[in-house]
Symmetry: C2
Subunit: 208 residues, 2 copies
């Protein structure tokens, strides 16, 4: 059954947030073209549907100022403003571990600029780390087509260096040395939980 | 220094999300008048500022359709719609434990009506529970002025009963028997982490 606009009717599940089914999607498995955010989204759906982990991206925080209630239709927000998020974008649970992370993509080929990060996000990461959370960044180098997991415990050093105005960025080499490379694969495309496993193992050794 | 409207100037921190300081607030310590949500909000701020736990309420999910960019002022969202949340409202970390919960208040004196809960929220709670999360509901009886923590593991039974159309609600007695009473106190006003401690202890015994 098709709708008048020619689009096939698939129910309105996608309008009510993430569902518990695999969604069909047009994926270019060549390893290019998708954004880091949509790669993570697909991985999170895969993890949810396969009972691996429950990770969600938080909704964009919005300050709602005015809402209209047109007759016989749903409420329309007609005045709202973006708020600065006070946490990272992603959190959830993986096999008893609290996971908390931020994902950032850069077009830069040689380094990750730290002006991408906000002070309150780093404070949030520190607070979660103090509570024994698994805290990290997923950093995508778009032009290199490479993604790394950088543990918060390592990131801290570079953030301090940035705040002392010594260096505004982390070089790719530094990220390669301190992070975990996440290769693209078939399904899920960006299997970042493998890197999380390594981090959990390494941190449990460090913390003991 | 007061603003022309007579309100004292306190900076605009509250507009950019939760801060890491104790906020002064007009609290009626008599135990009435505040909503469950604002009580939880105050407790979460207290927990964050005292290094006890990092728990945040998720932003309301909104589907943004149109944004205006007026000259020399910030972006205005002028068309957006509320989306149905696919998770619970609160999650975070407490001493290495992943916490996930929903808070609901009822004016009903004798029972908690289950039409308050959405199927996808319960699916989310189940998924988090399967990953060994600490999952529960905070249920407030406004007219009784009582708040209970009901573990998801107990809630499941009542939800199944509801889905089988046997009973549409959970009685106060059932909640008292299966949940943990959270007394109001000075600071934080609603110290629900004490009930979480009991739950963690009880669940670790059950799961062994």
């Amino acid at each position: 059954m098709n709708y008048p606009n020619g689009k096939p009717f698939k129910g309105n599940k996608s309008q009510v947030g993430r569902t518990y089914e695999d969604k069909p999607s047009k994926i270019d498995y060549g390893g290019r073209g998708m954004s880091l955010e949509s790669d993570i989204e697909l991985s999170n759906s895969y993890y949810l549907n396969h009972g691996v982990a429950v990770i969600h991206k938080k909704p964009t925080p919005v300050q709602i100022v005015n809402v209209r209630y047109p007759m016989r239709s749903k409420a329309v927000i007609n005045e709202a403003y973006f708020r600065t998020p006070s946490t990272t974008d992603y959190n959830g649970i993986y096999n008893g571990h609290y996971l908390d992370f931020e994902a950032k993509e850069t077009k830069n080929k040689t380094s990750f600029p730290l002006n991408n990060m906000h002070e309150h996000q780093v404070l949030h990461m520190e607070a979660c780390y103090q509570q024994s959370g698994i805290v990290f960044l997923l950093i995508g180098f778009k032009s290199l087509n490479e993604v790394y997991l950088l543990p918060y415990s390592k990131f801290k050093y570079f953030w301090d260096r940035h705040k002392k105005e010594i260096k505004k960025s982390i070089t790719v080499e530094e990220i390669r040395k301190n992070g975990y490379y996440i290769p693209y694969q078939y399904q899920p495309r960006l299997n970042y939980i493998i890197a999380v496993d390594k981090l959990i193992l390494d941190e449990s050794e460090d913390r003991v």
